[in-house]
């Protein structure tokens, strides 16, 4: 398991989806959860950075777990996910400050993600509000953006949740680039996805 976490953590960092100490990953095993340690460096994960604690129940390991442990738990309880990736993708965060939803304009993004909801909350870190809102959305969408904060993606494996995260950032880069070109869009493909 450490290898999986290390591989994805490193890729998330190297592809700029997280800053040095941001983001967190988890997987669910029955009624247990393995989550990255609070303040760990995803690009340099070691054994001591993987914290196992209860899915519903706290134990002493909770004090080492990621600040987002509550949100990860809520997602597992409210969805069928077995893995969660939380990242801070830069272009997606920028777009989240302008939009209520992100609609891909590229083919791959459109096929894979259709639409990415953007939600706002007063408290965005370790937040009870997010624990309430996210599970519902993530049972319908693969990935959700929290305005100004970052993404939460679900999957059956961390690689899958990582894929949605990476894809989201690609989608957003393309949107940002396209907008910066100031041209008129030739294809209004995104309109069909607004009802997704």
């Amino acid at each position: 398991m450490l290898k999986d976490f290390q591989k994805i953590g490193r890729d998330l960092f190297l592809s700029g989806l997280n800053s040095s100490h941001s983001g967190n990953l988890s997987v669910r095993y029955g009624d247990r959860i393995v989550i990255t340690r609070r303040g760990s460096m995803l690009g340099h994960l070691e054994e001591r950075d993987l914290i196992e604690t209860g899915l519903a129940k706290n134990d002493s390991k909770i004090i080492l777990a990621s600040t987002e442990i509550g949100v990860h738990r809520a997602i597992y309880k409210g969805t069928s996910a077995l893995a969660v990736v939380h990242a801070h993708p830069v272009h997606a965060i920028a777009l989240s400050l302008l939009e209520d939803q992100i609609i891909p304009v590229d083919s791959e993004g459109a096929y894979l993600l259709h639409k990415i909801p953007v939600i706002g909350a007063e408290h965005t870190i370790g937040s009870k509000e997010l624990e309430n809102i996210l599970p519902g959305l993530l049972s319908e969408y693969k990935i959700v953006m929290v305005r100004g904060h970052g993404s939460f993606a679900v999957g059956q494996m961390i690689e899958e949740a990582y894929q949605w995260t990476s894809c989201l950032e690609q989608v957003c880069r393309i949107i940002c680039l396209t907008r910066s070109l100031h041209g008129e869009m030739k294809e209004k493909r995104f309109e069909k996805f607004t009802s997704w």
Binding site: G39, S60, I62, I63, T67, G70, G126
Partner: protein, 597 residues
Amino acid sequence: MDLYGWFGKALRVNLSTGVIKEEEIEKTLMMDWLGGRGLGTRMIYREVPAVCNPLGSENKLVFAAGPLTGSNFPGSGRFSVSAKSPLTGTIFDSNAGGTWGVRLKRCGFDMLIIEGAASTPVFLSIKDGAASLEDAGELWGNDVFETNHKIISILGKDVSVACIGPAGENQVKFAAIMNDAHRALGRGGLGAVMGAKKIKAVVVSGNKKVRVAHPEKMDLMVYESDKWIQASPITSKGLPEFGTPVLVNLFNELGVFPSYNFQGSQFANAGKISGEAIAETIYAGRKGCYRCPVQCTRMVKIGASTIPGPEYESLWALGPECGIDDLTVIAEANNLCNQLGLDTISTGVTIGCAMELEERGLLKTGLKFNDAVGLLRAIKQIASREGVGDLLAEGSRRMADSSGFSQYSMQVKGLELPAYDPRGMQGMGLGFATSNRGGCHLSAYMVGPEALGVPKMVDRFSTGGKAGLTITQQNINAAVDSLIICRFINLAVSEEYFARALSAATGVDYRPQDLHRIGERIWTLERLYNLQAGLDSSFDTLPPRLLEEPIAEGPSLGKTVELKPMLAEYYRFRGWDAAGIPTSKKLQELELEEYSC
């Protein structure tokens, strides 16, 4: 003078003459030393000769609140007491939560200085600024709970009592001062200083409002700090759900949970006495100090009574350190220590040492590891100084010295070590060795970086970089102890917030680096005092077991504390010479030239 945060007033009580008078505290003094430990250190340095007998009338007790005490800032309901310690001979500060500090402040005082010694037992009552010394003949001999109860039934529910029990009266070298019945100014034997002065209790109650200079800025800091406290799993989940014993399983797994007087670094039955075990068996609710959202105190059910449960350190000292794995016994022993007014850590570690000496056939103490009856008996004997208790009441260093086997005493500068095996946490070892008050985990609190990842996780086995980190931690914690804020809040909220809250409370502009500098000045002044008291660099060491005996098994296998290189670096980084004496350049830099060794 228009003051915010502080009142600028001290109350000085001379027990020898009975004279009580109010004094102004200069604003610059408060700005430089903040309150709590800082103000206490400065007062003790100025007024108590370093070479005096700590149990003589020359010693003084300085009770001090801080500029945030009485504000809404989380974890700020604390106060500290400073004196020369009868256990360590060092300058010493101890702090506690509850409500006492807030009530002292509401009397309109930042500081209370008690000097001299009474000829017959007295207690001091301060009500809304009016103070009187009362006869405590009836209270003398009462335990902490009885004393608390009697005083409250006479003076009413709106008072807070800080008092001593039989241990303090009998000048046990590690007697505690207990406030609000169960909160302890535990370490260093400050209760014995009260006992020697024949002052049974200090009772406070007041209604003065503590004025905040910028209430809207303070509200923002309270809001932001609460947000961090809620976001951190330590302060929002771990401590509220399991209390400080949340650390038991964690430290046992790391192989830094000492047992049997530090002969082991793990305890086979740790799971039976962990925070989780308490939650599943004897847990009966939680409580906390004034204005604290964490509420880390466990209430536990033992037989028909519900009592405050042991904190992590107490649980360890009265448990694994003595080979005990029965939660009920540990909770009873903890309650007994509170009732008699004993420091739980020093009590447990001294008894643990006596058990090892007995088992090795080096000293007749009648105590054996895992002997619950013996443990409870020894606690009572210590408090009353009966039988072997008289020897144990002197602390583990003097007890082990008396048998000629001082190497079995697990202490630094006479202060018994707490629940961390530093062989598996090198910075903790350096912190213990260099702490101005002796073997204390709170001065550097390397638990943060070496185990909990606060502010960042560092390699616990590495010695590299530990000197600098230990110094930074010691400095900032000295400032935090002066504000005065609970160490656990410190795990979620950074000094940037403390500086802003301090500025909002006082109207004086402070930045985080100012707190570091204030902390360094406090640390240095404490060091100068200790040097004057004769505690040179030869005291900056650890028990031989930790330096020479590698851990025999577990995750910290083969480790000892590599103190020498860390210590040399520590002196250099502190700007001290090779003998551990602050250089004149350093004193100049800190504007402490007027103070010298």
